[in-house]
């Protein structure tokens, strides 16, 4: 009953999406997609090249100039976004912190897509027990708050970039598997697929030539939404102190340090809060735009 329900939901979603378009005017945000992509590209470029252009060391502590408000100038140093409780430059930490968010988001979503996509295709191609097992795991994992398990795993195994990415991939492959499976089943019903089979094709060649190209578009759309989810998950874990080691600045850990200084130094928490919000917002808007372009039939599942 469960796997069928999953497909049911997917089809339900597609039916709705195809009907909204003629009804309502398109949101302003749908046209902002390319702009958001451009902003994201600039932001991630600035973050990844932070070592070359941000003059201040993000880990450099200076207790004399602690909790300075934004746009303070001390000697030759400009603290655009102020300093935190240890006198570290918030602007520099913010730019450097973006590295973790962007890297974890892109790497995790990509691995999750490859693994989830492969498992979804296996399930749809073989049906049988492979399908039963894979879909069962997908259902259980979707229903269970895996963030809790992720927290437990990281706390036991120890934090670090690899642990986080692995844990998040284990968490986030399921939507890809669900989607690839459902889409592949639709392809399997099509005439061209049956024609390919009757002309003797099978195995990898068949899957890669006929199923994969028909699945990739919607996978890319879901990929963008998963990037957004991953950025949220990573910053949540960093906020809880379960992210990368504290010596590396991340938006989540900056936010959690700033939580204790909201009374007298709002800027420590507010800048990373805006960074997370705007990044996720831009990714979501781009995802909506993309889904409208490539694949209006699969809205978010």
């Amino acid at each position: 009953m469960q796997p069928k329900m999953a497909i049911g939901n997917l089809l339900l979603g597609s039916k709705i999406a195809s009907k909204i378009a003629p009804n309502g005017k398109k949101s302003v945000f749908l046209q902002a997609g390319p702009v958001c992509l451009f902003l994201l590209a600039i932001a991630s470029f600035l973050s990844f090249t932070a070592n070359f252009w941000v003059s201040q060391d993000p880990g450099n502590q200076d207790l004399i100039s602690r909790l300075l408000p934004p746009f303070t100038k001390v000697d030759t140093l400009n603290y655009y976004f102020g300093t935190d409780q240890l006198g570290r430059d918030v602007f520099s930490r913010l730019i450097h912190g973006g590295k973790i968010s962007f890297a974890v988001g892109l790497i995790t979503a990509t691995f999750a897509m490859i693994i989830g996509g492969a498992l979804g295709l296996i399930a749809a191609y073989f049906r049988g027990w492979q399908e039963a097992i894979i879909l069962r795991v997908v259902d259980i994992q979707t229903a269970f708050p895996f963030l809790i398990v992720a927290i437990a795993i990281v706390s036991i195994v120890g934090s670090g970039l690899t642990t986080i990415i692995t844990t998040l991939v284990i968490w986030l492959w399921t939507p890809f598997a669900r989607l690839a499976h459902a889409k592949a089943l639709i392809v399997k019903e099509s005439e061209f697929y049956k024609a390919a089979i009757s002309s003797g094709r099978s195995g990898f060649g068949l899957v890669f030539q006929h199923i994969v190209p028909n699945v990739v578009g919607s996978m890319m759309v879901v990929w963008t939404f998963i990037v957004a989810q991953t950025i949220i998950a990573e910053s949540s874990m960093s906020y809880l102190g379960l992210g990368v080691p504290l010596s590396t600045p991340t938006w989540g850990s900056m936010l959690s340090e700033g939580r204790n200084y909201l009374e007298n130094a709002w800027w420590i928490a507010v800048f990373p809060a805006f960074a997370i919000m705007l990044t996720v917002f831009c990714v979501n808007v781009f995802g909506d735009w993309l889904s409208d372009r490539i694949d209006p039939q699969t809205k978010k599942i």
């Binding site: 339900l12 309502g24 259980i140 269970f144 895996f146 036991i156 906020y239 928490a269 809060a273 997370i276």
Partner: protein, 307 residues
């Protein structure tokens, strides 16, 4: 009916055994909990006696079997930090978590249903699209970020609400708002989409031609029809919702399971952690069961199919 109960029960057993086993082996693989409890200046004898009292000196298979036995009797051992049985500690924190989740969920529904209907009905007007833009933004802000903004505005600037704990009656306001915002935004979008879909249906036209008022058609008929797909989405969301609750509890130092578990994680208090994960697993499966039963009570077609 029996089939639904049976399938959920099976799911519960699988989830609990699966996650319990995963945690059990991760804990044993990752290092000696006795070292963590004993602290840095413990003697060899100290550590050995702690190992013995925790049963860590037995073979891994023996430990695993007794772990499974304890799982059946809900005995997770004593919390390392509180020195009390772990499960009662979790159960004592449970009402706070349920209270927070319930209020947040109610808030999301109470606001999302009218907002979604409004956005659907006024889909071509500025206000309708403004609602959609708001919900797009709302979906992009994780609960703990909303929490920070709420604290800044209502505790630091306006000084209306307490920023942590559950002492005053008003303490619930900010945590529940932070937790419900994402759901509110998501459900507004979905209700709008489902609503627009339903407005094309024949029964809406029939209702109109019979002279029913719009309000009657929307709330009595359309809402009932969209509640079935909404319920299935709510079932899917439950897991994420509970995950969000843990973080919100951490932000507001809300005395629930989430705060307890975060502290357990930091102190490497594995019995407490395992009991917490177990309690949440049971909670999520039970909530899913309630969703299943709601399906039956709402949709006579599903009821007919099951019987």
């Amino acid at each position: 009916m029996v089939r639904i109960l049976g399938s959920r029960l099976l799911q519960l057993i699988l989830v609990v055994i699966g996650i319990g086993t995963l945690l059990f082996f991760l804990v044993r693989v990752s290092g000696d909990p006795a070292l963590a409890i004993a602290g840095a200046d413990a003697t060899v004898e100290n550590i050995a006696s702690i190992r013995q009292s925790l049963g860590l000196d037995r073979s891994i298979l023996e430990q695993y079997i007794s772990f499974l036995q304890n799982l059946c009797t809900l005995n997770f051992g004593e919390s390392y930090t509180y020195l009390l049985p772990a499960m009662p500690l979790i159960l004592a924190a449970l009402p706070n978590t349920l209270y927070l989740s319930f209020v947040a969920f109610l808030l999301a529904i109470v606001i999302a249903v009218p907002a979604g209907i409004y956005a659907a009905v006024k889909r071509n007007s500025f206000s309708g699209r403004a609602v959609m833009s708001m919900s797009m933004l709302g979906q992009s802000i994780p609960p703990f970020v909303i929490g920070i903004f709420l604290i800044l505005v209502f505790s630091v600037w306006l000084r209306w609400l307490p920023s942590f704990g559950n002492e005053a009656g008003l303490s619930i306001v900010m945590p529940s708002l932070a937790l419900s915002a994402v759901l509110m935004a998501r459900y507004t979008r979905l209700i709008r989409a489902y609503f627009l879909e339903e407005l094309n249906r024949g029964y809406v036209r029939t209702g109109k031609s019979l002279g029913f008022t719009n309000t009657r058609i929307w709330f009595k008929h359309v809402l009932r029809n969209i509640s079935v797909p909404m319920l299935s989405l709510i079932g899917i969301d439950l897991g994420k919702f509970v995950g969000g609750a843990v973080i919100v509890e951490a932000v507001f130092a809300w005395p629930g399971i989430g705060s307890l578990m975060i502290n357990a994680v930091k102190a490497r208090d594995y019995p407490l952690l395992e009991a917490g994960v177990f309690a949440i697993a049971v909670m999520v499966v039970l909530l899913n069961l309630i969703v299943d039963l709601l399906y039956l009570s709402i949709d006579p077609r599903i009821r007919a199919k099951v019987n």
